[in-house]
Point group: C2
Chain length 620, copies 2
């Protein structure tokens, strides 16, 4: 048995109620590293072009990595993978919290769910015992209520992954939420709708076993060097959370303002991490094994939003529900954030959809007859909150907006697609390719659509270094030089982190690939593992996901695009001036370095080099 | 009465057989200049978003300009305008020959056709008399046969505009052909299918009247300066025809090779204008009032294509059916060209569709089962000819390819859209934006889709000058600097030429805007007309066409794109190296100069400035 790895994956067929334990060969862990890689392989094996994302044949795959549950820093994470109903392509989400750690402690690496229960159910994994239980009484509850109810039933150590009313109603931007009031989200790509389509309300886990590693003492000793460095370099995250980045992001022209149509926005200071620290912040929140603690635990004690508490808004939520809607009321955003969490919808896609609707409203394409009387003006926090409720409840115009901006704009027709800011149907997160150039090619090519956490190059434009790859200084954010190569490297690194299960915030902690290889050695026990093999595995995983999209979803270069507004409308602000990233040029460099054809298809040589020519042989 | 202008337009309802004469106010000629502008206004008035391009409600508008039929050089032209069934947006085509001149001599400026005849008919305009005649005996004939048959019936002075079998079958890339064996085409945008959808086979015209101008002697005198200059500067066109540009186009990386996927191609010399001059050329052909005579009259006297005669292949045909399919057999191309003319299909879209199919065949996406056994290898002239026949006859895979590469690629699905080189559904002509940068923004924004004759900036990158606009030297073809502005100017100039009716080849003859204003003075009689008013009219016409697309066809910046291959795959040849035009940057400059919003919509201020706020008031 390898360390950090139970080898056991639950396979649950909700149609028949059948529960099996599957085991994949150790060598497959080395080939695909863990969570994201293994789940991508299983999705590749078990779904295809005929899979309806909302049909019983779709697979919802929960997977941990070899670091999950160990003392490796910021490793308390898991991945959820499925074919996305929002985009129709490969979908996944990485999330922290404590759910993954508990699953590992209960003795399993992951859970593969397929089929569809006849009526609402939930899954209970309790120290190795697995059951499918009647979930009728949970149906209709919000995600925090579900967590409370399951803790009442199964005890306070119960940790939940669940959907809210939005997931039940198969809203296409529905999230899967974890840890109740501490709210950790698998937000993107509408995986909550997949869970809802299976009549699965929640997975409750109780685990108290120990996650073995190859060399506990060696790991402990090794981390004595890493931990102080990580802590020293992440003080800003500790003090201000991810929202601490908002002020700088506005200065750089990075955060979206007014549905991505403008730049400078002074009101950012009213919704910043600094403001939160001075007002509603209660304490920090830590995911499993994390020394940073960037999570915010907030409480609003007075005013119209009195009573809002628990997980505070992250940078992304502030960027999309805040600046992108021009709402500068932090407490309104905090309430909207709690609503998103309770109803179970992605705050990024939701904020994007609301800003999109505000632009349509301003331009007279929709009016109060469409919004049930809501005056959808820029900066109207109450209206923004009303829209969150409508989207999460699939009511009124919320039904349309909950389909995501791509579909909504196509249904509205006319000029509406101009204002829909997405790639491959996934709304852009709150980082602008016009401010950090690598995001242009990164968003255009990332496997789940526009995603900074999959693109990754922007970390290097913010000063992250990686000496093994020659990135020893901050990359010029307003230049396209070498950004194809940077995106190649950073996407592969994102796959590595998502598979081993390491939080991307560790990059700010100046963690190196060499350190990660050390951690692998002490955790899994691979003494001969190298940085080169690690990078190759990352590249393999990225290519397997691309092949899923190419072979099953007809994705090619035609889809590797940016929305018109990003491609040809400069922000004209003090951070970016009139800079526009030249996507065509960057794509050319990128495809070449990837060893893909000019249509964006992995070449036969590259597939062979990555040992993916056996990709049609099932993992298990 | 203004000179060069009958003021009379025929309005023919084919459903009822009703024929009326309409008259539009003189001031509208000054506002919209003539052919293209007037026809755009009529189309704007009489069709809208509910118009099915192939329904009886579509309007097929033949229109001459104030210069047509006068001694103004290269003015023997007319325009045909309709909503395009290929692209679904504004469609038009400019054409030379003698048909327009004859219509004017018969006493009419244009013909508006709508409705649908119960069975095949043709229209006869004979010296002012107009009739709708039974066309059953013409149905099924090719375009040259129709011309011969109508000359037999109505005499040798009869000039025809007609469709071939492709137009009858509503092939979406069907052309409308003129002048029989001298074959002058309205090729683009599938207007032949509109004619077919109306059961209208031909319009035969006999006209022997005189086209009056304001000051015959003045004009004659004035032209004494212009004509020698034009003739001196167009010697190459005279000697080698448009195909004389092929060798230079290959050297510059301008002509498409292998479905736009590569550059250098030495075999160009085998299909060049020089080669034609030495082999199959019989004599030159002149459109009405033309001092240049770039048309080629050819004859193949031996070999497999013996008997081919009449209009020889133009540069575009050589680029699309030749180099783009890698066919280096000039006689095979000449035969394919005659087939395109006889069957009535656009040789540009046809060549593009065949190259597209060849790429699918090479990549195994289609095979011999799809092609009825035709081995569709690159450079296989026989196979290319077979495909022309299939497309023109709507047989086998020709039915699919005849829908144009956009629809065909969408129906095939998967990666096929990667290989479909078009903008807004119109296939690119044989000029590459990677070689002449202005074409990037020109193709992306031209009103009928990818069209060099509407974009126009490339003329200035080939050395054309226009002193009134400050273009006094050749524009750098591999730079994006100022190309938004150049495209603004050149598109407006194209509208001016298409409306007055002047051949674009006059630009090579160094004709200036000042000269054109002189010609207007002596022809129409507007003594107070200025270069500024002329340019404003061009801009007005361009914007009216854009407004048609915006208001009736949901066109906006999202559609102002380039195909992925052009945007991000360099030719890597000796002419262009790895140059890729930065479309986003150019579009930004372009929209600003146009006074359009960043969504590509004419602003209210611009609409007012151009006096287009009354655009909903009908012309007549």
């Amino acid at each position: 048995m390898l360390g950090g790895y139970t080898g056991k994956v639950l396979n649950i067929d909700l149609t028949t109620g059948n529960i099996e334990i599957e085991k994949y060969p150790d060598r497959m862990l080395r080939k695909y590293l863990g969570a994201s890689g293994i789940a991508a392989k299983i999705l590749y094996d078990r779904t295809d072009e005929n899979t309806d994302p909302l049909g019983p044949e779709n697979h919802l795959i929960y997977m941990t990595g070899p670091f999950t549950g160990t003392r490796v820093p910021s490793s308390g994470r898991h991945e959820i993978t499925a074919k996305s109903p929002l985009t129709g392509i490969f979908g996944e989400g990485d999330v922290g919290g404590t759910w993954g750690v508990n699953l590992k402690r209960a003795g399993y690496d992951g859970i593969i769910i397929h089929g569809k229960a006849e009526k609402p159910v939930y899954i209970l994994v309790e120290e190795g015992q697995v059951s499918i239980l009647d979930g009728e009484h949970l149906w209709g509850l919000d995600t925090i209520e579900v967590d409370e109810k399951l803790k009442e039933t199964h005890g306070p150590k119960t940790v939940t992954s669940c959907i809210g009313p939005a997931g039940e109603k198969q809203v296409l931007i529905a999230s899967i939420m974890h840890d109740g009031k501490d709210a950790r989200a698998v937000g993107r790509a509408g995986l909550g709708a997949v869970m809802g389509s299976k009549n699965l309300k929640a997975i409750a886990v109780i685990g108290s076993g120990k996650v073995d590693v190859a060399d506990e003492e060696g790991l402990k000793e090794c981390l004595k060097k890493s931990l102080p460095k990580i802590i020293a370099n992440t003080q800003s995250l500790k003090q201000l959370g991810t929202a601490g980045g908002a002020v700088m992001a506005e200065k750089w022209g990075d955060i979206p303002v007014k549905n991505w149509s403008r730049g400078d926005w002074e009101s950012i200071k009213n919704i910043s991490g600094e403001k939160m620290a001075k007002t509603i912040l209660k304490k920090r929140y830590f995911c499993g094994s994390c020394p940073i603690g960037c999570g915010r635990d907030i409480e609003i004690k007075e005013g119209p939003y009195k009573g809002v508490s628990g997980a505070g808004p992250e940078y992304e939520t502030i960027g999309l529900l805040g600046s992108n809607c021009m709402v500068d009321d932090l407490e309104a955003i905090a309430y909207a954030n709690e609503l998103c969490n309770r109803l179970g919808i992605d705050s990024i896609s939701t904020g994007s959809a609301i800003a999109f609707a505000m632009e349509l409203y301003e331009r007279g394409i929709i009016d109060e007859r469409d919004t049930d009387g809501v005056k959808l003006d820029w900066g109207n926090g109450e209206a923004m909150i009303e829209m969150v409720k409508k989207i999460g409840s699939k009511e009124g115009i919320g039904e349309l907006l909950g389909k995501g901006v791509k579909r909504a704009s196509e249904e509205i027709g006319g000029i509406a697609p101009e204002f829909a800011v997405h790639v491959k149907g996934l709304e852009l997160p709150a980082h602008d390719p016009r401010a950090m150039s690598s995001l242009a090619v990164g968003y255009a090519t990332s496997n789940r659509g526009a995603c900074h956490l999959h693109a990754g190059g922007f970390y290097f434009e913010k000063g992250v270094t990686m000496p093994e790859l020659g990135y020893t200084e901050m990359q010029d954010r307003l230049s396209s030089e070498g950004k194809g190569q940077l995106t190649f490297h950073s996407q592969n690194i994102m796959c590595i982190l998502d598979s081993l299960k390491l939080c991307k915030m560790l990059l700010f902690g100046k963690v190196t690939l060499t350190e990660i290889v050390e951690w692998i050695k002490y955790t899994i026990g691979w003494d001969d593992f190298t940085v080169e093999e690690l990078l190759m595995a990352g590249e393999r995983i990225f290519n397997l996901q691309r092949l899923y999209n190419v072979e099953y979803c007809s994705i090619s270069r035609k889809d590797d695009v940016l929305p018109p507004r990003i491609l040809s409308q400069p922000r004209l602000d003090r951070g970016t001036g009139d800079y526009l990233p030249p996507l065509g040029k960057m794509l050319y460099e990128y495809y070449q370095i990837r060893g893909w054809t000019m249509e964006g298809i992995p070449s036969e040589e590259k597939i062979k080099e990555l040992d993916l020519d056996d990709r049609h042989v099932p993992l298990i």
